[in-house]
């Protein structure tokens, strides 16, 4: 819960590898679980 262990990596608003314990939740935020290493998505737009 302080950014040390990286066990909480998640995809937040389409950005993977976010340390979710360090980010405050906001209205409308899109949060997805990230299992394993990140996937590279083709850039939107």
């Amino acid at each position: 819960m302080m950014g040390v262990c990286f066990d909480c990596l998640a995809e937040i608003d389409d950005v993977a590898n976010c340390q979710s314990c360090m980010i405050e939740v906001q209205e409308g935020m899109r949060i997805r679980r990230q299992i394993g290493a990140r996937q590279i998505h083709p850039a939107a737009g």
Binding site: V4, V15, M22, E24
Partner: protein, 465 residues
């Protein structure tokens, strides 16, 4: 951008140093990963109610944060440091954008992390550190629901138990793992009890509060395991077992040395606290002339001591940068040093009472995961060490341990201890990981946008063709 002093971390040491530095006229920037000042010990302190279950010691952080807000410094919250060069350039990330700040002098105040507690089942959902549960209480008023078992040792374990009880979620039991020999060892330091009485009474008060709340404390517990299929549902130990929805582990705190190691500052193995710490002089000066360290990142002594070492480092920085003379620095430091002696008085006693047992440093069972990121077990580390791996850095090539997202922050102390055990050498000889940038994840886009001072000019100077 160039400043006189850059402080990394807005915990007690960083806040106190920043306030004093501003007062002494230093052009100061304070960078911190969190959205608000306080560090971990005073996390989210500005939103605390006066009757918070976190108690008066937590509220002691409020005036520090208020002083920081009132001081004339460049305070940058929600800013991650992802690289630092020894000449004094900080590479930062804020809101998805990268930037640099160059400072004539750097003060690292990155505090402590909890020691890893590698028991069987420590990777199961529902098993967390006691500190993690406390963070949720501080930052979001959350308490774990269901049956909570606390296990381990150290002042924080009792503090969290009392805070959870006050918040209406008392743990079902505390399993204290301090080896009973520790009590005898600590007793040799009984002369420290009187000068350290303030801290001692605070600790005794917590224990009696916990007992008063009806939480049983079991001492000398060994062989703790977390059992469950999809998440923890039972905690077992030698001679006992309890149903549990959460197991909160804690075996003390150790300095956070990711940045000081990356800078290749000289470090020493602390034989009493069983951790690495940067070698410092009495002002917090490191082996690099322009870098100092204050607070628990320089050796564990607690929040009140961190405020004091932060002030000493600020005074020394003011001398170094030519704002005050040596006479003024020394006279201002005198009362700070006297207070620091009082704060540290109980340490030798506490460090021996709560010295982790061997199984915390070197887990007995081969199938325990040591590196959580890359899922490397104790057995794999032992095999690689027997094959000839001499230390943690070479073990990366053998096993990938320490090469996942946490970059060895969690497994570093364990890997070193396991290798030292196999080779029959002291940990001091085995060494630890050499961390490298980026310390925090940063996108390629942010990197590509970065303007590096001097780089464009250097590129223009370069002959082409």
């Amino acid at each position: 951008m160039t400043v006189e002093l850059a402080i990394i971390g807005a915990g007690p040491a960083g806040m106190a140093a920043a306030v004093l530095a501003a007062e002494l006229g230093l052009d100061t920037v304070l960078v911190d990963e969190q959205n608000s000042p306080g560090g971990q010990i005073y996390r989210a302190i500005e939103r605390a109610e006066p009757d918070t279950p976190l108690g008066p010691d937590y509220l002691a952080g409020r005036p520090l944060a208020a002083a920081l807000r009132a001081s004339r410094i460049d305070y940058r919250p929600a800013t991650a440091l992802w690289h630092i060069d020894p000449e004094g350039t900080l590479f930062l990330e804020h809101g998805g954008r990268a930037e640099t700040v160059t400072a004539r002098r750097i003060l690292i105040a990155t505090g402590a992390i909890e020691r890893p507690v590698p028991i069987p089942g420590w990777t199961l959902p529902g098993v967390m550190t006691a500190g993690a549960a406390q963070m949720l209480l501080k930052s979001a008023d959350l308490v774990p629901d269901g049956r909570v078992v606390l296990a381990g040792q150290g002042p924080l374990l009792y503090l969290v138990a009392a805070q959870l009880a006050r918040a209406g979620a008392p743990p079902v039991a505390i399993l204290e793992t301090a080896p009973l020999d520790n009590y005898l060892d600590a007793a040799r330091y009984f002369r420290r009890l009187w000068p350290g009485r303030r801290l001692l009474f605070r600790g005794l008060g917590l224990v009696s509060e916990i007992k008063g709340a009806g939480v049983p404390i079991r001492r000398g517990v060994r062989g703790i395991r977390a059992i469950g299929r999809r998440r923890v549902d039972r905690v077992v130990w030698e001679g006992g077992e309890l149903a549990a929805n959460y197991l909160l582990l804690h075996e003390g705190v150790i300095p956070s040395i990711q940045i000081s190691l990356a800078l290749q500052l000289r470090h020493e193995w602390d034989k009493i606290q069983l951790c690495w710490r940067p070698a410092l002089d009495s002002w917090g000066q490191t082996s690099l002339p322009n870098v100092a360290i204050a607070g628990d990142g320089g050796g564990i002594a607690g929040a009140e001591a961190a405020v004091l070492t932060g002030r000493l480092a600020a005074l020394d920085a003011a001398l170094w940068l030519g704002h005050i003379g040596a006479v003024e620095r020394d006279s201002r430091a005198r009362p700070i040093r006297a207070a620091l002696d009082r704060e540290r008085a109980l340490r030798p006693f506490l460090d021996r009472l709560y010295r982790p047992s061997r199984s915390v440093m070197v887990p007995a069972e081969d199938d325990i995961i040591v590196c959580r990121c890359e899922e490397v077990s104790v057995g794999q580390i032992r095999r690689a060490a027997r094959l000839g791996a001499t230390g943690p850095n070479q073990l990366k090539a053998f096993t990938r341990c320490g090469m996942g997202p946490c970059q060895g922050r969690v497994c570093g102390p364990l890997v070193a201890a396991i290798v030292a055990d196999i080779h029959g050498k002291p940990i001091a000889e085995i060494g630890t990981y050499r961390p490298r940038a980026p310390f925090k994840p940063i996108t390629i886009g942010a990197l590509a946008d970065l303007e590096i001072p001097g780089l464009a000019a250097a590129a223009e100077d370069e002959p082409t063709g």
